[in-house]
């Protein structure tokens, strides 16, 4: 089998899914690249830092449009590639391929969502089951996640990590000796790097009054919150000038704290298609100049919804499992192929029951001729008939259903 990475990447930019065996090979090859990278990867400017993207594929394309395509721009992605958005699979597949194709121009840092437990709660697992019919792709990627680096230092000056600092890690050297090739533990330095947050009133002001403070318990239930003094000390001890991280939603797309000692970059606009926020990428110039390039969501006319695609794909018989189980696609122009009965739809309750139960249920799906799929009665059908792009349990729900309180 020929492995034409450029051809694969072109397909990925059009949001096509790769076959399962290709994903497996891709992950194996990317692991071979990542295994040679240290926990703290050194990167030279100019480069662009990207925060959480959470499966918002069209907005990732928007990032490339405004920030420049690989390899013209060097990118450092700070994690949280999957969960919550509708296209976690397409997103991580594209980024993994870009890493493989341009290993020196793309850096992939691990986020707290690059984890087996979290992806089972927040949508990536469900999406893999829905798009591939089994959990293999999920396990290939979650195995790959174990290899992602933990942090980056740009020209000995800017320290980049997904979450934040750890009471167990005072020096960069201490980060270097962590054994990172494993699932993110519940606690300890590796967990802290991907889960911690800087205190910034009013976000956590109810938890810990001042932003001067030392490490304190985090409302996230993992990692810590930390303040100005801790940040200053880390920078001084390690001879660094700035910390850049992601992990926290910023309504304006970014946030600068502690007199510019630390900043947060957030790259998922209108997060969860609900938050109404702006996003940004942080462009680092050759002289370490920092510029937050702010952008909004990809315009609707460039954005497909899964419902539209489902009808198309199903009608074309593209998916062996007979259309998208779990996505209440609307019928396309008279063809019955894309129409699933209400009862045939993906059961959110299957998450956590193991993929086998889910696969069994899908095998029993029947198609009801002429039936209209769940149209607005969230409790009855697959979700609602309008934004019928239901992604599944824990992560997203279709359009409005299960996204607000009504």
């Amino acid at each position: 089998m020929t492995w034409d990475l450029d051809a694969i990447i072109s397909r990925l930019y059009t949001k096509q899914l790769l076959p399962e065996h290709t994903v497996r090979e891709l992950c194996e090859k990317v692991k071979e690249v990542l295994v040679r990278e240290g926990n703290v990867r050194n990167v030279s400017p100019p480069c662009t830092l990207v925060g959480d993207v959470h499966g918002q594929f069209y907005d990732v394309l928007e990032i490339f449009r405004i920030g420049g395509y690989c390899p013209d721009t060097n990118y450092v992605f700070l994690g949280d590639y999957v969960d919550r958005g509708y296209y976690s699979v397409e997103t991580i597949t594209l980024l993994a391929c870009l890493k493989l194709r341009y290993p020196d121009r793309v850096t992939l840092v691990r986020g707290n969502h690059e984890s087996r437990a979290v992806t089972q709660t927040y949508g990536f697992y469900t999406e893999c089951i829905r798009k591939y019919g089994n959990a293999n792709v999920w396990s290939y990627f979650t195995d790959l996640f174990d290899y992602l680096v933990l942090s980056v230092v740009i020209q000995d000056s800017i320290f980049c990590v997904h979450g934040g600092l750890s009471p167990s890690l005072h020096t960069i050297d201490q980060i270097k000796v962590i054994d990172r090739f494993r699932e993110i533990p519940h606690e300890g330095p590796m967990a802290d790097l991907v889960w911690s947050d800087p205190v910034s009133a009013p976000t956590f002001s109810s938890v810990s009054g001042d932003d001067k403070g030392d490490f304190a318990i985090s409302p996230r239930g993992a990692g810590y919150i930390f303040g100005r003094e801790v940040t200053k000390k880390f920078l001084e001890v390690n001879g660094l000038g700035h910390i850049c991280r992601a992990h926290q939603l910023c309504m304006e797309g970014y946030q600068i704290l502690y007199d510019d000692m630390l900043s947060t970059v957030w790259s998922a606009p209108n997060y969860c298609y609900r938050a109404g926020n702006m996003a940004s990428v942080l462009e680092i110039g050759p002289g370490l100049e920092r510029y937050f390039n702010v952008f909004g969501p990809c315009p609707d006319q460039y954005r497909e919804t899964p419902a539209k695609e489902t009808a198309t794909a199903a009608a074309a018989g593209a998916m062996g499992t007979g259309g998208m189980g779990g996505v209440a696609g609307r019928e396309k122009g008279g063809s019955l192929a894309g129409v699933l009965s209400r009862d045939a739809v993906w059961e959110d309750g299957d998450v956590g029951m193991g993929s086998q139960a889910a696969v069994e249920r899908r095998r029993k799906m029947t198609r009801r001729v002429g039936g209209m799929v769940g149209n607005g009665n969230g409790g009855e059908g697959s979700g609602d008939g309008v934004d019928a792009d239901r992604v599944g349990a824990g992560g997203q729900d279709s359009g409005v259903v299960g996204r607000y309180f009504l």
Partner: protein
């Protein structure tokens, strides 16, 4: 209801769209209950299929339920049997059955909703042995759209004709002299402000003492709020009331101008932070991985409980 293939883009409109919100809420409730956020053995009778909501929604459903339960419990106090509850747009609410299972039910519990909703609810209750047993002596009325028991009344009606409804209440034993809780759990906001105001005012005039309790959305004008309205609009759900009472302050005002004596309001983020006990917060936090703290603050901050008190002897703070 018929759901034939009317058009490629059929979606419920108008009242149908409003009615559909009940299913959404019921599914969310069952999701939270199933995951252990709260106990409610009855909600599954009203939901066709279990769907799991994201953690942020489960927490929000829990908080909504806790807030309403808290104020309701304060209203009922030690002597629920001398009180009444009128639940507007009750939908698949299970509160009567939950109270009754603890022997804490009020003297009379009235639920009002569209006949499409009440007939389904009546059928679901009748199909369920446990619920039917809890009803005691009862009769079906209104061609299957209503259920009349001794202490529970499921009525079909349109809240936009509230004066007709108050007359029906009285014909069924509603006692104006008893302290009464009027509950609008995400209901008034779907009505035009004049219709909603009329209900709040009529309720004040109807009883000598009582509480009016509302749970609904606020803050339409910030980025999150505008996106929410846009998203809901794509499902033909409008919130006419949100611009009339967009803030906690205006929520309090709505009652005072309608004749209620005291008024209070709190957003759900405040309720979670300040009113849910630490041990309970810890219990709830452990139920699922929860990685959406900022989003939680944003979402829960756009919902409030507001309540008004009239008359003496009621301590609801």
């Amino acid at each position: 209801m018929n759901r034939f293939l009317k058009s490629q883009s059929y979606q419920p409109l108008g009242d149908d769209a409003v009615r559909s919100t009940n299913d959404d809420a019921a599914v969310s409730r069952l999701s939270a209950v199933t995951l252990g956020y709260m106990a409610d053995p009855y909600i599954k009778a009203f939901v066709r299929r279990l769907q799991r909501r994201p953690p942020i929604i489960n927490r929000g459903t829990y908080t909504r339920s806790a807030a309403i339960d808290c104020i309701t419990a304060q209203f009922l106090g030690d002597d629920p049997s001398s009180k009444q509850i009128v639940s507007l747009g009750a939908g698949s609410d299970t509160r009567h059955f939950l109270l009754k299972s603890r022997g804490a039910q009020p003297k009379r519990y009235f639920e009002i909703d569209f006949p499409e909703i009440t007939s389904r609810k009546a059928q679901a209750i009748k199909k369920n042995k446990e619920l039917t047993a809890m009803l005691g002596d009862h009769s079906i009325a209104g061609g299957g759209t209503e259920l009349h028991a001794q202490d529970y009344f499921l009525l079909a009606g349109d809240l936009r004709q509230f004066d007709a409804l108050t007359q029906r209440l009285e014909s069924l034993g509603f006692d104006k002299s008893l302290p009464t809780l009027f509950l609008s759990e995400c209901v008034l906001i779907y009505l035009s402000p004049p219709d909603a105001d009329s209900i709040v005012k009529q309720a004040a005039n109807l009883v000598s003492s009582g509480v009016f309790l509302t749970y609904e959305q606020i803050l339409p004008d910030d980025a999150f709020g505008s996106m929410m309205l846009q998203n809901l609009k794509s499902r033909n759900i409008e919130l006419p009331g949100i611009h009339a009472y967009p803030t906690l302050e205006s929520q309090r005002e709505r009652y005072l101008k309608a004749g209620w004596d005291q008024a209070f309001a709190m957003d759900l983020n405040e309720f979670w932070e300040g009113k849910v006990e630490e041990s309970e917060k810890a219990r709830v936090s452990k139920l699922e991985i929860f990685d959406e703290v900022e989003e939680w603050r944003l979402l829960s901050g756009h919902y409030c409980v507001s309540w008004a008190v009239k008359g003496n002897g009621l301590s609801v703070v």
